[in-house]
Structure formats: structure tokens, C-alpha cells
């Protein structure tokens, strides 16, 4: 079952002179758990932002289910001072770019490195609001309660989702009042509420204690099966990464340096160099 | 901490409330049969603050001259209920209803036609007659049967000014500047333009927005268009700036304006400067020596009055008109034979009074029947008005 769900081709993101992501090509297949690792500032989150439409890649193509969701080639001022590779490959192609909400509509949901829950809302409302996108209603029917059935459905589903993530006991608490680990779980639950096919997790284990991290591994597997998801995650906790991911992509300075199964990656010199640095006389 | 402060705030409000009610209470209490209340609906702040204050002074002086009125044998004390309409139309409605709820029998005012027009309907709704003092725009009484007025109207004033400009000053091209959204100046400019063009002159009209204090360009426009008279019947606030600019740019043309400019504010602005200002007005100082001297002594008796009058004891026409308006109101009360506003309303049409500014009687429209206006010329050496012979347009 090697049906590709997400494909990045020569994706390059350049800010001014800085090339944050350089010619990154990778593929995530349906039902996989794939990890994107690399030292700090390697451009992992930038890659995520290119996928989710927060940034518009300077060059390259991103496709989801064989549908191009972002495509661009350097033009304007970039044309001259483009520092990436394959700058000419996509010249002929027409540029595609979507706002994040469209991407989410298509079925890619994400979480954030620095948790971005809606502060003033309760746990329940956080998840419920994420359901807004899929609701069959317009402002008129919603205001005058003509789509009360829809509202009811959303609430039931939210209820169920919280139940499943056993967050239900926090139902009416302010999202920000939860313990850190739980907030991360809530953010994932919120992402699930948008009914995604592909889930992007940006350092889900950041700030978790070993115990929580362990639980998280199980939890990710669990939601993957329950919701028939494909998971693509950025993570620093190596043991977690090695434990759960089917394949791993390693990037350094925005460039892909190695990919493969955990075993392969673990024993790859470049990876070790990237993480530990290279001795002068090596 | 916060709580206590919140409490303090609430306390302030509550106190204010009590006081407010107290105020209302007292006024309603004094609404007993021995007192008749006359509302003074005048601006004490805003563009027309200066004029409004002088008009109020006139009324207050009149009140000090005769603080009581005999109605059917019984003597009533006349109590003035003063409210500041801030020379702004949106405040006018609420200011008016403050007077109404104070239970006044009649209202005097306001200086500035816009506020009068804006406040009028409130009085009409409450069946309280109003005697306009110096609001000269026709729209004030038009379509408002409760509004009367003792001054001449802008069509008349406009004609007088146009004639003066064309015949006396002998100018052929006039620059007319009015304030955007100010019925008084817009109206007067309009009538001036009509009359002036009938006489065969040309006009350039222009407006300045509210809160504008830079008249450089306007004076420059007048110069560059080769106008030989600058007609701007605007508020005294703007007047000072205009005079200043005309002097600054060394423009030689005479400045012409309506009754608003008949104020010592203008005299102060023009004093010792090379500028030629003429205005039309209701009452020239010196026409009634007794009133003048009485008013002067009264004003000089009190510092606040003096400052309200612009710092000196010049008798402005608006004060004289205020004085007359007060006595007209008293005459109406006498005719009505009751303090009931409806009765006063009924009595007003056939009320007449011989005031310091001339004979006052109302036509079917509620306007004063007047055919006389005075033209004054500012003497920049002495800083005083020189009255020119009165103009009569039959």
C-alpha cells in the first residue's frame, strides 16, 4: 500500500538571502507515520508552514493526493537573488497557492510548536469551533437557529471526540488552565475535529515528561488507527521518533541529508555528524 | 484595591444621581404658583460660545432690571433656566429637553440658527413657544409654528449687505466664505449672492470644514481670483483667524459680514491693524443711552459677567436683542394671563413690544416685522464700532 498522500518536490523557501528550506523532496504514503527530524533551525517548521499554506514556497511543488496544493518558481526580485536549486524546473508551471484554511479544508490538519489554543475558550468550545469549517450552515441559518440540527450534531461529535481522548472531564475548563501535556493532546483533538486525512504534528512531545511521552506514542498510534490517519511529525525526542515512525527524513540547513527506516537513519554518519557536529580533522 | 475604587466610582455616580435628582427636585418644587420659569437656550461653549454668552448677558440683565412679572394681578418671580447647547446640533435636542423637563413656560434663544433649527422640534413636541433672539435663518420659524423671533431675516440682511457692498463700497466681485454645515452662514451667503448678482456683481463661493483653523488658502483664493470684497458671515471664532490672515497676507479688500461679527471679539482682533471691516447688525451702541449705561454698569459690577462679555463693556447688539427678547416674553406672559406654555403660545402672535432695538411684532410666520438694519464699521484705531446710517429695505 504505497499510495502517496503528500509529496514535496524541490521545495525551497527563501527569506531575503536566507534559504530556510533548500530543495526538499519527500513523500508520505497513506497510513504511514513519518517523522521529519533535524537539528534546531534546520527548517523543519518552515517545511510544515510551506505545506499548510502559511508560507508560499519560493520554488517547488507540494501535492496532496496527487492534487497540487502549492507550486511556485522564483520570480520578481527573487529571480535574480534566488539561492536555491532547480530554480528553472517549474518556470513553465503556473503558480498555485492556497490560504491555510483551504489546505485544512482539503484534509491536512496541524498542531503548533508553541501551543496555539484559543485562550478565552473552554476545552469543549476549542474543539467545537474547529468543527465550524465542516458545518453545513450559513450565517443566517446559524444566527436564527434554522440549522439547529447541524449545531446539535457538531456538539454530539465534539462530545464524542473529547470522550475518546478522555478530555471530557476538562469539558468546561479554560483550555489554557490545563497541564501542558493535556494542552498538547487537546490541540491534537482540535486538529482531529477538522476531520483530516493527514495530520501534521509539530513537536508533539515538546515539554512532556518521559511518562507523558510514552503515553503520547501509544496515543498517536491509537488516533491513527481510529481515524484512518496518516501522521507526519516533527520531533526531537529520538526514542519517541524511533519507536513510532515507519520512515524518517533528516534535514540539516534546510537540505535533506538522509531518509529511511529508523535503523538506517540511526546508523547514518551524516546524521550523526549533523547532530554531533564534525571534528576539524575528520 | 480595584473593588474599593470601583465602589468609589459607583459612589460618585450615586452621589451625582442624588444631586441631579435634588437639582430636578428643587426646580420642580419651585414650580409653585409664585414663580414663572423662562428657559434660556444658548450656547456657552463651542463656535458660538462668545455670542451666546453675550446674548445670555442681555437676558440676565433684563431679568435683573425686572425680576418679576404681574400676571392677572398676581406677581410672579421670573426664574431663568439656563442650559448650554454647546453650539452643536446633536447636543441641542437633549439640551432642549432639559429645559422642557424643567417645566419652563417659554424659551429664549438660540444664538446661531443651526442649533435653533435642531432644538426647535423638541420644543414643538412639548408645546412650548420659543422666541428666537438673533437666529436669522428663515428655516428656524419655517415649518415650526412654535418658533417666533424678534430679529430680521437673512434674505433681508443679505440684500442689505449686497446693496452696501455694490453701492456704498462700489465693489463688483465678492468672495463669499461660509462654514460647511452651518445654516446661518450658508443661508446668508446664498441670499447675499442672489441679491449681489441681481445688482450685476459676480460672486465666488467657498466653504471651510468644521474645526478648520488655517484660512491662508481661503484668503489666497480670494486674492488670486481678484475679488474686491471678502464676505464671510461666520462664527466669531473663525472671524478672528480670518481677520488675522487678511492682515498677514496684506490683502487690501474690505471684509463684510453679518450680525455675528458685531462683537468686541472682532474689534480686539482688528484693533491697530490695517483692515477694513463692516457688518450689519440689529442695534448700534448708543442708540439707547439709558440701556447702554445700565448694561455697562451691570456688566462692570461682576468679573464673570465682564469676561463673558469678552473682557470689556462694549454693548453688542446680541445683548440688546436678548434684553428685548426677555421683555417680549414678559409681555406675552401678561397677554396670556397665565404661566401655562399653551396660553403663552396662544398669546404670542398678537404680542407687541417697543424694545431698545425698535418695535417688535410678529407676522403670521412668527417672524418679526422689521425693515431696518444698521451697518457698523470697525474703527481700528479706537477699537470701537462706528455706526453708519441705518439701512431700510421696504
Amino acid at each position: 500500500m504505497n499510495e502517496s498522500i503528500l509529496r514535496l518536490e524541490d521545495v525551497t523557501m527563501q527569506f531575503g538571502g536566507v534559504v530556510a528550506v533548500n530543495n526538499l523532496s519527500l513523500e508520505v504514503n497513506k497510513g504511514e507515520i513519518v517523522a521529519l527530524i533535524g537539528p534546531n533551525g534546520a527548517g523543519k517548521t518552515t517545511a510544515f508552514n510551506c505545506i499548510t499554506g502559511v508560507y508560499k514556497p519560493t520554488n517547488g511543488r507540494v501535492s496532496f493526493h496527487d492534487q497540487v496544493i502549492a507550486a511556485n518558481h522564483p520570480h520578481g526580485k527573487m529571480k535574480k537573488n534566488y539561492a536555491g536549486e532547480n530554480g528553472d524546473r517549474y518556470q513553465s508551471e503556473k503558480t498555485v497557492s492556497h490560504t491555510p484554511d483551504v489546505i485544512t479544508q482539503l484534509g491536512i490538519a496541524r498542531t503548533f510548536q508553541n501551543i496555539r489554543l484559543w485562550k478565552s475558550m473552554t476545552v469543549f468550545d476549542n474543539v467545537l469551533t474547529a468543527k465550524h469549517m465542516r458545518a453545513k450552515q450559513n450565517v443566517f441559518t446559524a444566527t436564527f437557529r434554522l440549522s439547529a440540527g447541524e449545531e446539535k450534531r457538531m456538539r454530539q461529535e465534539t462530545e464524542a471526540l473529547l470522550e475518546e481522548q478522555d478530555l471530557l472531564r476538562y469539558r468546561d475548563e479554560l483550555a489554557t488552565s490545563l497541564p501542558y501535556g493535556t494542552q498538547r493532546r487537546l490541540e491534537i483533538a482540535r486538529a482531529l475535529a477538522t476531520e483530516p486525512k493527514l495530520l501534521l504534528l509539530d513537536e508533539p512531545a515538546a515539554g512532556m515528561n518521559p511518562q507523558e511521552t510514552l503515553e503520547l506514542a501509544a496515543f498517536i498510534h491509537d488516533i491513527k488507527d481510529k481515524h484512518g490517519l496518516t501522521v507526519f511529525l516533527i520531533e526531537h525526542h529520538m526514542d519517541l521518533v524511533m519507536q513510532i515512525s515507519d520512515r524518517i527524513y533528516v534535514i540539516d540547513f534546510g537540505k535533506l541529508i538522509c531518509n529511511g527506516t529508523p535503523e538506517v537513519v540511526q546508523n547514518d554518519k551524516r546524521v550523526i555528524d549533523a547532530y554531533l557536529g564534525v571534528a576539524e580533522d575528520a | 484595591m480595584k473593588r474599593t475604587l470601583a465602589l468609589i466610582c459607583v459612589a460618585c455616580l450615586a452621589l451625582a444621581l442624588l444631586a441631579g435628582c435634588g437639582a430636578n427636585g428643587s426646580s420642580s418644587a419651585s414650580g409653585s404658583d409664585k414663580v414663572v420659569k423662562i428657559g434660556v437656550f444658548e450656547p456657552a461653549s463651542g463656535d458660538n460660545g462668545a455670542g451666546g454668552k453675550q446674548e445670555t448677558l442681555g437676558i440676565q440683565y433684563a431679568n435683573s432690571v425686572s425680576p418679576t412679572v404681574d400676571i392677572n394681578g398676581t406677581t410672579y418671580d421670573v426664574k431663568l433656566e439656563t442650559v448650554d447647547n454647546e453650539s452643536s446640533n446633536d447636543k441641542a435636542a437633549t439640551a432642549a429637553s432639559t429645559l422642557v423637563s424643567a417645566g419652563v413656560s417659554a424659551v429664549l434663544g438660540s444664538y446661531g440658527s443651526s442649533v435653533s433649527i435642531a432644538g426647535g422640534p423638541t420644543f414643538e413636541a412639548a408645546n412650548i413657544p420659543v422666541i428666537g433672539v438673533t437666529c436669522t435663518n428663515p428655516q428656524v420659524t419655517q415649518g415650526n409654528s412654535y418658533y417666533y423671533r424678534i430679529c430680521f431675516l437673512d434674505p433681508f440682511q443679505g440684500t442689505v449687505l449686497a446693496n452696501y457692498a455694490y453701492n456704498t463700497l462700489g465693489v463688483k466681485k465678492a468672495y463669499c466664505l461660509s462654514k460647511l454645515g452651518d445654516d446661518y452662514s450658508n443661508g446668508l451667503v446664498n441670499y447675499f449672492v442672489d441679491a449681489f448678482q441681481k445688482l450685476g456683481g459676480q460672486c465666488v463661493t467657498d466653504t471651510f470644514p468644521d474645526g478648520n483653523s488655517d484660512f491662508t488658502s481661503y484668503v489666497a483664493n480670494a486674492k488670486s481670483q481678484g475679488c474686491d470684497v471678502f464676505f464671510s458671515p461666520v462664527s466669531t471664532e473663525a472671524a478672528q483667524l480670518i481677520v488675522d490672515q487678511v492682515v498677514a497676507q496684506g490683502a487690501k479688500f474690505p471684509i463684510l459680514a453679518g450680525d455675528t461679527w458685531d462683537s468686541n471679539v472682532i474689534l480686539q482682533a482688528a484693533k491697530g491693524k490695517d483692515v477694513n471691516i463692516s457688518v450689519t447688525t440689529f442695534y448700534p451702541e448708543g442708540a439707547n443711552a439709558e440701556f447702554d449705561s445700565g448694561f455697562k454698569t451691570w456688566v462692570n459690577a461682576d468679573a464673570t459677567r465682564l469676561s463673558s462679555n469678552g473682557g470689556d463693556d462694549t454693548v453688542s447688539a446680541t445683548s440688546a436683542m436678548g434684553y428685548d427678547a426677555y421683555f417680549t416674553a414678559l409681555a406675552a406672559l401678561k397677554n396670556a394671563g397665565s404661566t401655562d406654555s399653551a396660553a403663552v403660545m396662544a398669546a404670542l402672535p398678537n404680542t407687541t413690544y417697543d424694545g431698545v432695538s425698535g418695535h417688535i411684532a410678529f407676522d403670521e410666520n412668527g417672524d418679526a416685522i422689521r425693515d431696518t438694519a444698521y451697518v457698523k464699521h470697525a474703527n481700528t484705531e479706537t477699537g470701537a464700532w462706528e455706526a453708519l446710517p441705518s439701512v431700510t429695505v421696504g
Binding site: - | 461653549s45 460660545g49 462668545a50 488655517d214 489666497a220 497676507q249
Partner: protein, 294 residues
């Protein structure tokens, strides 16, 4: 030549009022640069400077009253910051802005109370209120003095910010509030200095402005204030040269507009200009772009 003859007055007026706007706009742009606060009260501080001049000059000679005005205005600006903004440093930005509006409201109403709602005649300052004639256009000396003085003050200010220690601190704070706090910069001092400079320039501005338009009313600060803020945004808020250039552009444009007879729109035009620039270049002429990290 005839073109110059007819248009010179407008251009002169524009340049002078532009210079006066510039002096006020700097106050806005500096405060915004550091506190990210639209100091709505600044225009009213400017108005109060004018009012104080009226009162002081009535009681003391000019050579004394002018410095007095400068000093008291500075104190006023300083006090406003301490009383109305400092307590809200940690509060949401909205409420600080509200506080600014509240202060402006208060200042206006106090002015209304003291003046009794009457316009006050501004004293005529020697020399700069004299009239001069250049190429057939008669105007006040102040018209010519203003741009010169403005440019001088701006140069001084820029030097102060580029060279001195406090200037460096200011730049640091405007870059990153928290970090510079961590680096041990005394935030409150910096902010106070900003307000002091802003108010001082506003006071100078008021001297020039009211010499030209010699009557002070409680509201005579609000429209110039608004326009100066627009000028600051136009030039790219936070940038001093930007504010100055913006102010001159707006001053000249609005006078030319009046000259063309579009007097109804002389104010509206200012805002139209602003909106256009915001849409074309959202950070103004000289503003730097800030991107929020995801």
C-alpha cells in the same frame, strides 16, 4: 512666473503647516515606535501648550513665558505618561489606547472649563509674526522660519538617537521591548524621555502653529493631532524622517487641494492619502515589515 505668483501662497502655507505638523508627528511616531501606542492625547498636549502661552504671556514677559511653556508642556507630557500609561503597561494594548482617548477627553474638557468655551487670542510674538513679501506673496515670517527650525530640530534629534546612549536605548526598546528590558535597559526612563522629547517638540510646534493661526480653542488640537498621526503612519510609523516627510507632504497637499477649490475634501483627502499608502505599502513609506512567527 504667473503660475508661481498664483500658487506660491498655497505652497508656502503648505510648507509651513507641514513643518508644524512634522514637529507634532515626531511625538506620535516616537511614542508609537516604543510603546506601540497611538497617543491620542498628543494633539491636546499641543493645544494646551498654546493655551498656556496665552495665560503665561498675560502674566509674564515673553522671554520668560516661552521657556515656561516649553517646561510646563514637557512636565504635562511626562505626567500623562506616568499617570495614564505606566499603570497599564501590562494591560492589553486596547485599554492603553482607551486611556489615551480618555486623557485627550480630559484635557479638552479642562480646556473647555478654563477658557469658558471661548477662543483665546494667541499673543503675537515679536519678529516671527511680522509680515514679509517674497515674490509678491505676503506672509508671516514664521512661515519661512518653520521649515528651517523643523529641519534643524530633526537633525539634532536624529543625532541624539544615533549617537547618545539614551538614543541607543530607545532604538533597542523600539526593536524589542522585552529583550531590552532583560538587557537591563531602564524601560521607564526611556519611555519618559520619549514623552519628554515628544512634548517639547509639540510645544515648539504650538508656538509656530498658533503664531500663524492665532486663536486657541479646546478642540484646536484634535484635527491637527489626527492629521499628524496620519502623517506619522504615512511616513512609516516609528521612523522619524518618515514622519517629517509625511507631514510635509500632507501639509502641502491639503493646501493645494484647498487652492484647487476642493475645500470640502481638504481633511478627507488626508485620510484618502493615508488609506492609499496603507494599501499600497501597509507599513508606510519608511516603515519596516514585521512578521509574526508561527
Amino acid at each position: 512666473m504667473s503660475f508661481l505668483q498664483t500658487n506660491l501662497p498655497y505652497i508656502l502655507a503648505g510648507i509651513s503647516v507641514g513643518g508644524q505638523y512634522a514637529l507634532i508627528a515626531i511625538g506620535y511616531t516616537m511614542v508609537y515606535g516604543i510603546l506601540r501606542l497611538i497617543n491620542f492625547a498628543h494633539g491636546d498636549v499641543f493645544m494646551w501648550a498654546g493655551l498656556m502661552m496665552v495665560y503665561f504671556s498675560a502674566s509674564m514677559p515673553l522671554w520668560l513665558s516661552i521657556p515656561m511653556v516649553l517646561i510646563v508642556t514637557v512636565i504635562l507630557g511626562f505626567a500623562i505618561e506616568r499617570v495614564a500609561y505606566k499603570p497599564l503597561r501590562s494591560a492589553p494594548r486596547m485599554s492603553i489606547m482607551i486611556s489615551a482617548i480618555g486623557v485627550s477627553y480630559l484635557l479638552q474638557n479642562c480646556a473647555l472649563y478654563f477658557t469658558g468655551g471661548l477662543a483665546k487670542n494667541y499673543p503675537t510674538l515679536p519678529w516671527i509674526s511680522d509680515t514679509v513679501t517674497i515674490w509678491g506673496a505676503t506672509t508671516k515670517v514664521v512661515t519661512l522660519v518653520t521649515p528651517v527650525l523643523t529641519i534643524l530640530l530633526v537633525i539634532v534629534l536624529v543625532l541624539l538617537i544615533k549617537k547618545t546612549k539614551i538614543g541607543m536605548a530607545m532604538r533597542a526598546v523600539s526593536r524589542d521591548f522585552e529583550t531590552s528590558q532583560l538587557m537591563g535597559i531602564k524601560i521607564n526612563t526611556v519611555i519618559s524621555v520619549t514623552f519628554v522629547i515628544g512634548s517639547l517638540l509639540a510645544a515648539v510646534g504650538s508656538l509656530l502653529y498658533f503664531t500663524n493661526y492665532a486663536s486657541v480653542t479646546p478642540t484646536s488640537g484634535s484635527m491637527p493631532g489626527l492629521k499628524c498621526f496620519v502623517a506619522a503612519v504615512f511616513g512609516g510609523i516609528g521612523s522619524i524622517p518618515g514622519a517629517v516627510i509625511g507631514a510635509f507632504i500632507i501639509g502641502i497637499c491639503e493646501n493645494i487641494i484647498k487652492g484647487l477649490g476642493w475645500t470640502t475634501f481638504s481633511d478627507a483627502f488626508t485620510f484618502a492619502l493615508l488609506i492609499v499608502i496603507l494599501l499600497v505599502k501597509p507599513t508606510g513609506l519608511f516603515g519596516e515589515k514585521v512578521t509574526d512567527k508561527v
